[in-house]
């Protein structure tokens, strides 16, 4: 087992790349830097493939495959090792991360070609790969937390990559801080886990958790508390309500970053974490409900905002939030497999969407406003076709990857609660609407930009090839689940199942069996598809047939429109309710009032008082011996009286 036993090599490679470029890269020219960065990513991918191959040869009893390398923290009764683990879940994530990551590395070499921060960019990107791999390979919560925080760091660095732009650095800070709020929850969750199970290793914690009796519905027991705390972390990392606010702003970063971190991999870490701890969630019904509802609401909520965005990347950002909502919905209804399945397909098509959008922006010379585009279909065909494919995928057009995953999620949701299902379907419709809106605005209609200012050109091959590869994946990425429609088995689920049955009684499996086996027709004419179709038609009507319609509609529904385009004014709310008061209190009250007035005032006050009393006292020294004599006699009288009257 060359690779599996030396698992640490996989994360280490990108780290080396990052270190090499970051520390010594200053003196190298671009070729070398590119070579280092790419080779590390590529090698990581290849080794991951090899690892998977070896993994498939393992016996079931060897899974999860855990390797402990060194003790990281140990104190008192506490110990956390640097231990990596591989099971089916990890394998999927591993492939997604290394694969998509690798493609995006390639893409970036083209996209960042002329950027002065080329070296910085790639060292950050490699570093991100490292932390992401640590996150998914970790065999205990603490090491997972390392990756968790690490990817947060990289996202901070990459969002603020153009650090000369105020908005970019603001976005970076916002991302990190909001994530920290999530981490606060995660950390407490971890602490509670340690307190409850006396360990943080998945191999110890999860079986025990599964073994425990579930918290009664509607009550918050230990497990529920853990689950909820963990979910706070997940919500922060995966941009769920109410912590999603950082993701849209994160689009300040370079587009490949948005594709890799803020679409394909990092933001899905929350989902991964929840799925990883499914044993805990399954015994915490309240937590499950919360997760499901939050996911579902987020999906709808973000979709509505996505309807009216004009910045091409913003649309995609909100769609990401919405899609993540789907994944949590899946988890919430116990369909962890489906969640991961959607995670994977989403990684393909959303990554593709971003990259394509990236090459559009590249072509437009940095322009991101869709209203200033249009009619690009002919000029950049590859971008168009790939994006078209991706759109179909995300809209859930039958046969495309998105179709299978989303369909499955909704099926499972239907079993648990029709309401969630309804909202999900509605969201599906909205999704296809805003995606096609994006497509039409960008590639169809008359061109709304100045031919002479920007000369639109197709991107270099380094960028187009990843597009094509991802397009292929977005099409057939979901076919593993296809047989299910023919009443067959869902290979994906089947593969994943062993990782998900650590639970004594896998609810997921149960749900799945009930949800499966519908026949093709029902699936094809299922509500999601219809909704998607409607969305498409609506978009076609608005943006091809009668382009003035949206204006009218916006005016007729202006309050609603304002609400959407104002993103429900959540940011403003946070500003007014939290940020400003906090700063004001810290500045005016805590610092100036408490620290300077009260405490220091008291200290200086003592000094002042003693100086004053000293001044009074020395006045006694009038220099006139008659008064001195008076004092002496006073003393005499007092002391003698003391002796004569008191002492006896």
């Amino acid at each position: 087992m060359p690779v599996l036993s030396y698992l640490w090599i996989i994360p280490l490679l990108p780290l080396m790349g990052a270190a090499a470029n970051g520390i010594f890269g200053g003196r190298w020219q671009k070729k070398v830097i590119t070579a280092v960065a790419l080779s590390s990513a590529t090698l990581a991918f290849l080794l991951a493939l090899e690892a998977v191959r070896e993994f498939l040869t393992l016996f079931p009893n060897q899974i999860p495959w855990i390797r402990t390398y060194f003790t990281w923290i140990s104190a008192g009764g506490f110990q956390a090792d640097f231990a990596l683990q591989v099971d089916q879940l990890t394998v999927i994530m591993l492939l997604v991360v290394t694969g998509v990551g690798w493609l995006i590395h390639i893409y970036s070499t083209g996209y960042m070609q002329d950027d002065p921060g080329y070296r910085r960019f790639f060292s950050y990107l490699n570093l991100f790969m490292f932390f992401m791999l640590v996150l998914i390979l970790a065999a205990n919560y603490l090491l997972m937390f390392v990756g968790w925080e690490g990817v947060g760091l990289c996202s901070y660095l990459l969002i603020g990559f153009f650090f000369l732009k105020q908005s970019a650095t603001n976005a970076g800070n916002k991302a990190f801080w909001v994530n920290r709020i999530g981490d606060f929850g995660f950390l407490l969750g971890v602490l509670l886990i340690f307190r409850t199970f006396g360990s943080l290793d998945f191999a110890t914690v999860l079986p025990r958790a599964a073994g425990m009796t579930a918290d009664p519905a509607g009550q918050i027991g230990t497990l529920t508390a853990i689950a909820l705390l963990l979910f706070v972390g997940a919500a922060g990392k995966s941009a769920q309500l109410p912590l999603y606010v950082w993701l849209p702003d994160a689009m300040e970063g370079p587009t490949p970053v948005s594709a890799l971190i803020h679409a394909a991999t990092m933001v899905t870490a929350g989902v991964y974490m929840v799925v990883r701890s499914h044993a805990i969630f399954l015994n915490a019904p309240v937590a499950m409900q919360v997760v499901g509802v939050i996911g579902c609401v987020t999906a709808l909520f973000a979709a509505t905002i996505g309807l009216v965005q004009t910045d091409i990347k913003k649309v995609l950002a909100y769609s990401t939030v919405s899609q993540l909502g789907y994944m949590f919905l899946a988890c919430g209804v116990g369909a962890f497999g489906a969640g991961i399945f959607h995670l994977m397909t989403h990684a393909f098509f959303k990554g593709l969407l971003f990259l394509a959008a990236g090459s559009v922006i590249h072509a437009m010379g940095g322009e991101q406003d869709m209203r200033k585009m249009g009619g690009l279909r002919k000029k950049i065909p590859i971008a168009f076709w790939t994006m078209f494919v991706a759109t179909l995928a995300i809209a859930g057009a039958p046969g495309f990857s998105g179709f299978f995953s989303k369909d499955e999620i909704l099926n499972e949701a239907q079993v648990i609660s029709p309401v969630l299902w309804g909202l999900g379907v509605l969201t599906a419709g909205l999704t296809s609407f805003y995606m096609f809106r994006l497509l039409f605005l960008t590639f169809f209609g008359r061109q709304r930009y100045d031919e002479h200012k920007v000369h639109v050109h197709e991107s270099p091959r380094s960028m187009t090839i990843p597009l094509i590869v991802l397009a292929v994946l977005s099409v057939c990425g979901g076919w593993m689940a296809a047989p299910q429609l023919m009443g067959g088995v869902n290979h994906f689920e089947q593969f994943l199942a062993p990782a998900l049955v650590t639970g004594a009684e896998p609810a997921a499996a149960a749900v799945e069996s009930s949800g499966g086996g519908g026949e093709i027709l029902q699936a094809l004419l299922g509500a999601p598809v219809i909704a998607g179709l409607l969305g498409f038609l609506l978009a076609w009507w608005f943006y091809i047939k009668s382009p003035e319609a949206p204006k009218k509609l916006a005016d007729s529904l202006s309050p609603l429109y304002k609400l959407f385009s104002g993103k429900y004014f959540i940011d403003e709310l946070y500003q007014a309710a939290i940020v400003r008061p906090l700063v004001w209190i810290s500045d005016k009250i805590l610092w100036h009032a408490v620290d300077e007035r009260a405490i220091d005032g008291a200290v200086n006050g003592v000094a002042f008082v003693s100086r004053e009393s000293g001044d009074r006292l020395r006045r006694a020294n009038t220099g006139n011996i008659r008064s001195y004599a008076t004092w002496i006699v006073l003393g005499v009288v007092v002391f003698t009286s003391l002796l004569l009257w008191m002492v006896d």
Partner: protein
């Protein structure tokens, strides 16, 4: 015979008067005199005690006190002369440049 307490009370009164004089007078010379008065009061006390106790020490002490008084007088008057020479006044209340 005269009760000893009479003498003692008298000496106390004299001593007290000396104290009052010290505070009340302004002329350095008279202040100094009031000290002499106090010493005399002490002498009276010594004498009457020695008589009461039938011990001679008391009277011996008187000699010592007188000698000390003499020595003090010599030095004190010299200092007073200096003061008068340097300041041209004998009023203590004008001699208060050292203060606070």
């Amino acid at each position: 015979m005269v009760p000893t307490s009479y003498y003692l009370v008298l000496s106390a009164v004299l001593f007290g008067l000396g104290v009052i004089a010290f505070i009340f007078k302004r002329n350095i010379l008279t202040i100094f005199m009031s000290i002499e008065l106090m010493l005399n009061a002490v002498n009276l006390a010594f004498v009457s005690f020695s008589r009461l106790l039938g011990q001679l020490q008391g009277q011996v002490f008187v000699f010592f006190v007188i000698v000390v008084a003499a020595a003090e007088a010599a030095v004190g008057l010299a200092i007073i002369i200096l003061i008068h020479r340097n300041r041209g006044t004998l009023d203590v209340e004008n001699v208060d440049s050292l203060k606070d």
